[in-house]
């Protein structure tokens, strides 16, 4: 148990991990685009996010969920692609995934900054 339990920071931190994993998966797919037989991977975090959303009103349950949540290779699953060439890397799809992950990451960082800004204000009385 941390001295100061901050569920918001934990939640945003975990989501930053997820977005980073998404970007890593997309970058890995682009890097292996021409490897024969390579099946592109994507991050599937919808189920985890859905369970987090259910517990948004209960900080204890949310903290427990966050402690259990593992952001690692186990969240990767084969990407569903359709093409004449079978399972292959679609560069446009990967680049747009990178763009989305980048935008989400920036949004999360900005919200974290403002969150800490509020805490600084509360502690010092000035920004």
């Amino acid at each position: 148990m941390a001295l100061v339990s901050d569920v918001t920071a934990d939640l945003v931190g975990r989501m930053l991990d997820v977005q980073k994993l998404r970007a890593e998966a997309a970058a890995g797919n682009i890097a292996r685009a021409n490897v024969p037989g390579y099946i592109p991977q994507e991050v599937d975090f919808r189920s985890q996010v859905a369970s987090l959303q259910q517990d948004l009103q209960q900080p204890e349950a949310l903290a427990a969920d966050l402690a259990e949540m593992r952001v690692d290779g186990s969240m990767l699953k084969p990407e569903a692609t359709s093409s004449l060439l079978g399972a292959s890397v679609n560069l446009d799809n990967e680049v747009s995934t990178l763009t989305i992950a980048d935008t989400q990451y920036e949004t999360l960082i900005e919200s974290l900054n403002r969150h800490f800004g509020l805490m600084t204000l509360a502690i010092t009385g000035r920004e």
Binding site: A50, L84, T103, Q104
Partner: protein, 138 residues
């Protein structure tokens, strides 16, 4: 409606238009290829499943994302009288897939334009999100 859902819709748009382009190219490519004995003439066609955009925009419920697939549909064949061709049948006809060039070229152009529009959509959405992050900032 969240930004993620808008991005998902745009990504689907990119996928769909790329597949339409692929289908048109594949059909054009096979337009002058002879169909062998026992083969049925097939044309590539794109189908979208579960394309419930309203649900995706409204709630973004998991698993409701539409998906595009590249499939094949039976097509008509056209016969060309060419007895000298080794692939000719008993009547001296050679069979080709009946590809309507005008349709395929129209698909090609409209897919290309719609793809551009989707890319513009993603870029604009990203710019808007970045601008929104500056609200109240210094």
């Amino acid at each position: 409606m969240n930004v993620e859902a808008l991005f998902s819709i745009n990504q689907f748009g990119l996928d769909y238009e790329r597949l339409r382009l692929e289908a048109a190219l594949s059909n054009i490519a096979q337009s002058n290829a002879v169909i062998g004995k026992g083969q049925t003439p097939m044309l590539a066609q794109v189908t979208a499943t579960n394309g419930d955009f309203q649900a995706l925009v409204a709630g973004g419920s998991p698993g409701a994302a539409p998906a595009a697939h590249l499939g094949q549909v039976a097509a008509k064949s056209r016969a060309v009288h060419d007895p000298a061709n080794p692939m000719a049948d008993a009547n001296g006809d050679v069979h080709y897939v009946d590809v309507d060039m005008a349709t395929e070229m129209t698909n090609l152009m409209s897919a290309s334009r719609a793809y551009e529009a989707n890319v513009r959509g993603i870029n604009t959405l990203q710019e808007m999100t970045e601008k929104a992050l500056q609200i109240g900032g210094r």
